[in-house]
Amino acid sequence: MDKQRRKFLKIAGVTALAGIGAPAVVKLTASPVLASSTGKTDAHGVQAEHGSGHGAESAPQGVRLGLLIDMRKLYGHPELLDKATAACNKVHNIPAIDSKKSEIKWIWKTPFANAFTDQTAYHSSKVTKENDFLVLCNHCDEPPCVRVCPTKATYIEKNTGIVSMDYHRCIGCRFCMMGCPYGARSFNWFDPRPYIKELNPDFPTRMRGVVEKCNFCGERLALGQEPACVEAVKEAGAIVFGDLNDPNSEIRQILDKEHTIQRQAALGTKPSVFYIV
């Protein structure tokens, strides 16, 4: 009896030592090739480089759709901004809710100080002071909303770079609204249907309890049409839509030529919406 107990205690001791020591041994002998942190590229094939600054984006690959808003052509024409908003609202069944807390916005107008919070508005020009600016989801290349979404209801659509939403999957936690530095997301506090003036039969509405945002008119692009806002102000030629990664696209031609700014570029979200102010 005594002998057996002695043997049991010996085996138990050795086993415990081996158990405690094993993780350290595995860690020391593991091959670095298997480590997951090396050779990582982001969704757009852009090598994740740190310290390269928010302005530098190296070796872009694939399509990354973007928008360029030439505000010079919109100054003094607030009706054009309203027209772009109205076109979007109509196409996407966006409700008109008269409350700052509950309103749903995909594209809207806002003063310079609200649109470009990191730019100084001190002694700004008359034009800057008096005009509203057109703002929408920036379809960032590094979207914070996508990082925080716990259900992957919002994601980067890999063929276009559009930051898209799957409303079937949204649980309404509103983390993305906290994450988005542009306020480009709205929450449906109640059933939006009674507030929709005219329903577009080809597009769904949203339901109570989901977050919604601009989708760069993914459904229209598939039909070969331009986004509704671009089409609405076509005659002014104020909004240009295209692939930021294609050096021959119209938007790239203008970006190469003109000085443009992005909203809150210093945050490192890499917005795909550019402004000429």
Binding site: E157, N159, T160, K197, P201, D202, F203, E219, A222
Partner: protein, 131 residues
């Protein structure tokens, strides 16, 4: 046998009570398999045979949703020379225009409550102005 007069009628009543669900269903029409309304427009063909659609339309709708939203594959499906855009509103409801007589009849019978129409519009809703 003792108490034959009570035992035998009692047994008969017992058996009748126990089998009540069976013969009640046999004579009532409440549980008849619902007859769905065929497309009012007279379309005879769907994206898949009727039996397959009946059994797994929900799987197809989920696949379409994921293809359209996640993979950006919005190209229409062509079956028998006819193009169907991927989507509940854009394909299914184009022919099956009456949700109440088509979708609801089976969903009620099988007691499933899909949440499609929380967001998606039926042709009837899309037509009428809400304000």
């Amino acid at each position: 046998m003792y108490n034959k007069g009570t035992i035998i009628p009692g047994l008969i009543i017992f058996v009748l009570l126990v089998t009540f669900p069976l013969w009640f269903n046999a004579f009532s029409t409440a549980s008849d398999v619902p007859k769905v309304e065929l497309p009012p427009g007279g379309e005879k063909q769907c994206v898949a045979p009727a039996a397959e659609m009946r059994a797994s339309h929900m799987v197809m709708l989920n696949e379409w949703r994921d293809e359209v939203l996640r993979d950006g594959k919005r190209t229409a499906v062509t079956v028998g020379g006819k193009e169907y855009r991927k989507g509940l509103q854009m394909a299914c409801m184009e022919c099956h225009t009456n949700k109440e007589k088509f979708c609801d009849s089976c969903h009620l019978y099988t007691s499933v409550k899909p949440y499609c129409w929380d967001c998606h519009l039926t042709p009837g809703q899309a037509k009428k102005e809400t304000h």
